[in-house]
Symmetry: C2
Subunit: 347 residues, 2 copies
Amino acid sequence: MSQQTLIIDCHGHYTTAPKALETWRSRQVAALNDPANRPRVAELVISDDELRESIETNQLRLMRERGSDLTIFSPRASFMAHHIGDFEVSSTWAAICNELCYRVSQLFPDHFIPAAMLPQSPGVDPATCIPELERCVRDYGNVGINLNPDPSGGHWTSPPLSDRAWYPIYEKMVEHNIPAMIHVSTSCNSCFHTTGAHYLNADTTAFMQCLTSDLFKDFPTLKFIIPHGGGAVPYHWGRFRGLAQELKKPLLKDHLLNNIFFDTCVYHQPGIDLLTKVIPVDNILFASEMIGAVRGIDPETGHYFDDTKRYIEASTIVVGDDRHKIYEGNARRVFPRLDAALKARGR
Amino acid sequence: MSQQTLIIDCHGHYTTAPKALETWRSRQVAALNDPANRPRVAELVISDDELRESIETNQLRLMRERGSDLTIFSPRASFMAHHIGDFEVSSTWAAICNELCYRVSQLFPDHFIPAAMLPQSPGVDPATCIPELERCVRDYGNVGINLNPDPSGGHWTSPPLSDRAWYPIYEKMVEHNIPAMIHVSTSCNSCFHTTGAHYLNADTTAFMQCLTSDLFKDFPTLKFIIPHGGGAVPYHWGRFRGLAQELKKPLLKDHLLNNIFFDTCVYHQPGIDLLTKVIPVDNILFASEMIGAVRGIDPETGHYFDDTKRYIEASTIVVGDDRHKIYEGNARRVFPRLDAALKARGR
């Protein structure tokens, strides 16, 4: 591995935002049926010092301890909660959250680059998200988006990702050369624990929606990152290869792997080993999703569960140039605007 | 491994039933809103010869080719379709399907032993399933049941498995000493492909429902088999260990592994290797779910994807007495009525 390899974490959320953000959101939610009493955006005041502290004592501290350089940073996934309120509520909330991630990226330009949440709302045309998407790319330098395949929060009332209803988003993604991480938010269905079931189910579901469709024939350059190591997909890679064959689809490498990528948010060594053994190295992007769902120390190793760099470093499967691809090369390829931003800074 | 090891496949469905069964069901479904025109049960006539042929040319042929001895045999999972019609529709259908599996077990007593589907119906009290459950145990010698955590077929409108609504079923399971395989049926939600997303999601979901609850404190001897290798669970075992820790639950081995077992329906070698590396051998039961979702030949190996015995045989992780446990010992322990039935036949 080159000495110069940048360690790029493609999956970080602003889970440690100052308390004022949550307080504002609580007021917004409390006034859902009482628009006149909704808090104004201007009532949320968070200083640069507060932002700095929330990052320096949390994400940046851990990035330094663990040795990662740059995080693609988006609003807290579980707080997107697209199921709450209507489009206007989601729109205001998305704008606030995206601005905060942008400000973090301006305060720490060497360490954070933003990805946007969208103002999705159940039953609302995804095309309504385009103004916020374009604002984030144009004004904030966002290099990707998070796309929620289930804005209902666990009721799965939207059409599959292969449906033409989503195409306006994909057209803009292709136009602006940005990928989407397919990432749900909080489950409001009591069957699904948010981070233990809903997230992983959504990953598997999204992959299968792509597998059964010809989406990437319509959008040959569209790129999706499926987080959390791809849900159940790599573990059941034989099943998915077999299902594709039953459905008379091409081999998965031709059918999906020019467009779908998996992150390394798998919190134990055997899982990372399976992922890296089964999925081609060109389709794996380093990520930790820290500080996220699993914040504790693994009593079996003495290290943080979500310190995924340790698993890559300990891997006997990912060696040499393959590490460079997972840490940096693939991220530059999948996020071309990230690559351009880095090059503009001489990196 | 002892020469005498029985190879017990704990997960087989009657996917090859004579066409007359599907025809009858189609008539039942067509007359959902016209009860007077529903077909009578007596109109379904399938001879023993037809049953024999459907088994001998399919499951039994493959069992002989692959070298498995005995299959725990239940009605076709995707055909349970509990979301169709009301309780009476489900009840009639379950009775028919369970009787066919019983007849197969009588025709091939050395090779098949039945497990029951239940006449679940969305929004209907699970306790209504008890008469069919008891009939199958008492009259048909069933050794287990399949319990559908989502009778709505992908809308997830039932409470989690930890909810007291399910307790009447659990009380009967404990009383009769039978385990449940947690197995959904067809998805009627266009987001979820049945065998590529809904099945795996349900496995993960069920595990997490147990993890977040104290169900097994109330039922210390209750036993669940989570099929399809546990969905996403073993691949994300670190995540689940970490989530249990965040939730102040005991270690998973103490919290869940006296009660939860995984089958080996994982259709490639790296997946089986991950499963057997991560999950204690006492919690793994051999299974193939053939002839099921993935019926083709893996071009990478030249063998059937669902010939899971090959992966166990090729394993360098599962050796010696551990193979005996996975093939036979664990199944006898988890299905005590199977063990008793085998012993009664001198096996």
